[in-house]
């Protein structure tokens, strides 16, 4: 006991300094994941929330039923579409924008850096309000632009296929900024001398891009790809505020499915099982990414 007191006196300050962070993270991150795992094997719902004695074990029923749930399967399919279209689009576009922005250092380039970053700090509800109006079938700007070119008006958010693409466009607009900054920081770290040496050897602009810039952006590309991928697997806020998953669940993502089951339908156990399915998918995809990365040549 006395040695404990001695230890405490010696290390009082570091423990005091980490205590708030450790306690809060344990309470709201570590314990929740244990609770989520436990309740995913129960039938916990609103009745269970009121009185814990009403909760009973459900075994693997939640995990079995969720894969029979047509809405969940649909949400998995939708999420796949979001990822397959969204991720390459965001990675390529943010790299392209970063290359353009790295072309010069004048005020023009600096101001456009701000402009491209602006959407990513914009509140999602405000985005929904403004884009909802842009997409409006009767008075929206997009349909007006189509009409100038003599094209028919579109139901941007009501047509099941088009609604998915409309949400991707919105999320694309919102996520270029942050990734572009990561590429830009990486580009600024490439020494000028590499390009000068290549120029002496007669390399043209395209060759410099192909053989110097892109390979040296390897780590940034990996980082952006993996975070973008994880982000799009958890695609959530855009369908929540724009379409609530509709029409006919055409924009329902896995994360929104979990949220709806948890907070709209109060099926806590079922939603927790869904969240673990999502978690496992994220882990698998991340591991695959790291495996692919390992095979690549290091520069």
């Amino acid at each position: 006991m006395s040695s404990f007191v001695k230890q405490w006196h010696k290390n009082k300050y570091p423990y005091m300094f980490i205590a708030p962070a450790v306690i809060l993270l344990t309470l709201f991150s570590i314990i929740p994941i244990i609770i989520a795992l436990v309740i995913s094997f129960t039938d916990m719902d609103l009745v269970g929330l009121a009185d814990y004695s009403n909760i009973s074990s459900a075994g693997f029923a939640n995990y079995i039923n969720i894969f029979k749930d047509p809405i969940f399967l649909k949400s998995m399919y939708n999420t796949l579409i979001y990822v397959v279209i969204g991720v390459p689009l965001v990675v390529l576009a943010s790299m392209g924008v970063a290359l353009l922005l790295n072309y010069g250092t004048s005020w023009l380039f600096k101001s456009f850096r701000v402009i491209y970053y602006m959407p990513s700090i914009t509140n999602i509800v405000a985005v929904a309000v403004v884009w909802g109006y842009l997409y409006n079938g009767s008075y929206g700007l997009f349909n007006y632009i189509l009409s100038i070119f003599g094209l028919p008006a579109q139901q941007w958010l009501q047509d099941p296929t088009l609604a998915k693409l409309s949400l991707i466009l919105l999320a694309f607009w919102k996520s270029i900024g942050l990734n572009m900054i990561i590429f830009l920081a990486a580009l600024q770290g490439i020494p000028r001398s590499y390009y000068e040496a290549a120029e002496i050897d007669g390399a043209t602009g395209w060759k410099k891009l192909r053989y110097i810039t892109v390979p040296l952006l390897g780590f940034a590309t990996f980082f952006v790809t993996i975070t973008t991928l994880i982000g799009w697997i958890q695609f959530f806020e855009e369908p929540l505020v724009m379409t609530k998953g509709g029409p006919l669940n055409a924009t329902m993502s896995m994360a929104l499915f979990i949220y709806n089951n948890g907070f709209q339908l109060s099926k806590f156990g079922y939603a927790a099982a869904g969240s673990f399915v999502l978690f496992i998918i994220i882990i698998i995809v991340t591991l695959i990414q790291f495996a692919v990365k390992k095979k690549e040549v290091e520069y």
Partner: protein, 274 residues
């Protein structure tokens, strides 16, 4: 000839940059222009980018028809609390960087591990915990779960590790207390990290939407974004009011961002992502 090619190339790049930038700007221009439109101008075909009879009435209605003053107050409270959280992150980062104590590595790995847990997994159990603590529909319930963050702790630790220990030892010899050393010595040194984390924290807190939406049951606790989504539901056809609400949320953050944007880009260099 080669020089001429280079000029053409640069011109082309600038043109591409400007076109792309203007496309990115369309929603912002549309929002600001529309927020000054009287309601009857919204059904005009062709739609106008700028109002022909500009009016401030939409902004006035935000405070008359809705309780935007209360939402603003709540949002600012959350922003202030998140700055307290920023100091808690810095303190933890400081302990991990500059002290040796039993269990140090274990605690640090636990903190790093929390970065990998997706929000969807913790969302429901965190709600159950908040419910158990009787903090549903309170400001504490809104603020506490997001108060500290592993990434910020990690950044502070990385930056503080580079500071020579002699500096701290000298202060200790002079009889300065540990808290004083932290606040008067460390905090000024790690100002660059505070600048980046400060602005990111501000943006995050100002925009906080989902958790207040889940925890706040009555309007007295709504944040600006929850209020705006309420407005979107209640006044679905009053575009002017909606646009003014959106502009009221977005414009302040853009102004703050323009002032501090230099630090954000430096911040990514500090964090070593390159």
């Amino acid at each position: 000839m080669a020089l001429k090619m280079k000029h053409i190339e640069k011109g082309l790049m600038i043109a591409l940059l400007i076109i792309g930038g203007l496309l990115m700007m369309v929603p912002f221009i549309w929002m600001i222009g529309s927020s000054f439109k009287p309601e009857n101008e919204f059904t005009v075909i062709p739609p106008t980018l700028f109002p022909s009879h500009p009016t401030f009435s939409n902004y006035r209605d935000l405070f008359l028809k809705m309780d935007f003053m209360i939402y603003l107050k709540n949002t600012l409270i959350i922003v202030l609390c998140s700055f307290v959280g920023l100091f808690l992150n810095a303190m933890a980062g400081y302990a991990f960087a500059k002290f040796d104590f039993p269990g140090k590595n274990k605690f640090f790995y636990i903190i790093l591990a929390t970065m990998m847990i997706p929000g969807q997994v913790t969302m429901i159990p965190t709600y159950l915990i908040i419910n158990q603590l009787h903090l549903v529909n309170t400001m504490a319930g809104i603020v506490l779960p997001g108060l500290v963050g592993a990434f910020a702790i990690f950044l502070f630790r990385q930056f503080m590790t580079t500071i020579p220990i002699d500096l701290l030892e000298a202060a200790r010899l002079d009889g300065a207390g540990e808290l004083r050393i932290f606040f008067q010595l460390m905090v000024p040194i790690v100002k660059p990290v505070f600048a980046v984390q400060g602005i990111l924290t501000f943006i995050g807190a100002w925009n906080s939407f989902l958790w207040p939406l889940i925890i706040a049951n009555d309007e007295r606790l709504y944040t600006l974004s929850v209020g705006l989504s309420l407005l979107k539901g209640q006044y679905g056809t009053e575009f002017g009011l909606q646009m003014a609400g959106a502009a009221f949320m977005v414009v302040p953050i853009i102004i703050i961002f323009i002032f501090f944007q230099k630090h954000i880009i430096e911040g990514y260099t500090i964090s070593g992502i390159k």
